[in-house]
């Protein structure tokens, strides 16, 4: 039976909707390097700050509701994958639990890194740029970062942060329904950034952001592996 004109249009929109959902699965990365970055020499001591992950469900109305169970799963999977990838490199490393390091100067440095990371995301990856930061990728925690190096006998610190949201069943149904009417509706995604800080100078020597669709799902080991692989791609480690 030949589809009527409306059926053809609906089929076309169905294809577009499916394409949109599939496109969400693509992973993109965007790396920034400090001017004259120094690659950690073989044997450099690196601390891995336990990944900071927060995952949420995207409801039909578009509200994000944090999910502690998903967050725990995602954090565990990402941490395991970061460790697995670091084992393959010629450096010594140790994972630190940020909750144990939040006191005193080290805690201030970890919090400062959060502010620096947010600033990088705003002005190097956001819609606006700062004229005072236009010349080069030049971000730092200051020489006080040596306190972190001394406390953990480390030369560099690697930070990984991830945020993700996943569409609920109702949200997916809404997305497909509205796609047929020609309205695009986000169905979730994940964003992850990683930064490498030289603990002697405090400089952020490397920074990368990976955006993935909901298919590279960090709640699953395979998805976390894809995401970590993407975000650590080109890391000078």
């Amino acid at each position: 039976m030949q589809p009527g004109p409306l059926g053809g249009v609906m089929r076309l929109w169905g294809v577009i909707a499916a394409a949109c959902l599939l496109l969400g699965a693509c992973t993109t990365t965007n790396t920034k390097l400090a001017a004259n970055p120094t690659k950690p020499p073989a044997g450099a001591r690196i601390i891995l700050v336990e990944p900071d992950i927060e995952l949420a469900v995207l409801t039909a109305s578009g509200v994000q509701e944090p999910r502690a169970d998903w967050t725990e799963q995602g954090r565990g999977n990402v941490a395991a994958e970061v460790e697995r990838q670091m084992k393959a490199r010629a450096h010594t490393y140790r994972m630190i639990d940020p909750n144990e390091a939040m006191g005193g100067r080290t805690g201030q440095l970890l919090r400062l890194h959060e502010a620096v990371g947010q600033s990088i995301m705003m002005f190097n990856y956001g819609y606006v740029s700062l004229p005072t930061k236009a010349a080069s990728f030049d971000w730092t925690l200051g020489e006080g970062a040596q306190a972190l190096g001394t406390a953990y006998e480390a030369d560099y610190a690697l930070f990984v942060h991830g945020r993700g949201n996943y569409a609920s069943g109702a949200r997916v149904a809404t997305a497909v329904g509205l796609a047929i009417l020609g309205v695009g509706v986000p169905v979730g995604g994940q964003q992850c950034f990683a930064s490498l800080v030289d603990l002697k100078t405090g400089r952020v020597v490397w920074f990368n952001v990976a955006n993935t669709g909901p298919n590279d799902d960090m709640r699953k080991p395979d998805g976390a592996a894809q995401l970590v692989q993407a975000v650590l791609k080109d890391a000078p480690l």
Partner: protein, 195 residues
């Protein structure tokens, strides 16, 4: 730690990242804050006034590394009923200048304005007589914390001249960023010319 991102979100949300919003350069040299008020910048700054919510036409907001890492508020003469930080909603009023404020009330205006920026544990320290331009005012330092617990330091001056209140306020994380630009800010305060 896990709450830090969430805690920083309100600060990030302060940015009115509209596609049309622009950040312009505030180059080293004389900068007009108002018709009869100028300061001298010792280095280039970024003028982030237009991307920040909560600012008014009378307030210039400068930064070097972004508002989470350093911010310098420069207000032209605020008249009674005007504020340093514009309220986001009627339900969340911010401090306003009142007629005949005492010196201590003006300092309270500063600390309450910093609280309105969602900083916590705001404490004013070392208030002392000072000049802003040719007029007298009060210099102050302050300490505060972000919601995530990042220690922040501030310094500034508030001065009432000709029935108008002038505020210059610098805020930055205590770790590295405050000290990194303190000399520059001190020079800016010292360079103020009013009237």
């Amino acid at each position: 730690m896990r709450t830090i991102f969430r805690a920083l979100a309100p600060l990030a949300a302060c940015l009115a990242l509209a596609a049309c919003a622009t950040v312009t350069s505030a180059p080293a040299g004389a900068m007009k804050v108002g018709a009869a008020y100028e300061v001298a910048l010792g280095r280039d700054w970024s003028d982030i006034s237009k991307i920040m919510n909560g600012r008014t036409d009378k307030v210039r907001l400068l930064s070097i590394d972004g508002p989470l890492l350093n911010r310098l508020y420069l207000s032209d003469g605020l008249e009674p009923g005007e504020y340093l930080i514009k309220p986001a909603a009627k339900e969340t009023p911010t401090p306003v200048i009142r007629r005949d404020m005492s010196a201590s009330e003006r300092l309270e205006f500063v600390t309450d304005s910093v609280v309105a920026l969602e900083y916590q544990r705001v404490q004013l320290v070392r208030p002392r007589p000072a000049k802003l331009g040719q007029g007298s005012g009060v210099r102050f330092d302050l300490t505060a914390q972000t919601k995530s617990g990042l220690d922040v330091k501030g310094t500034g001056v508030i001065s009432e001249q000709g029935g108008k209140t002038y505020v210059l306020l610098y805020l930055a994380p205590a770790e590295h960023y405050f000290d990194a630009n303190l000399a520059e800010v001190e020079a800016i305060i010292g360079s103020a010319k009013l009237g």
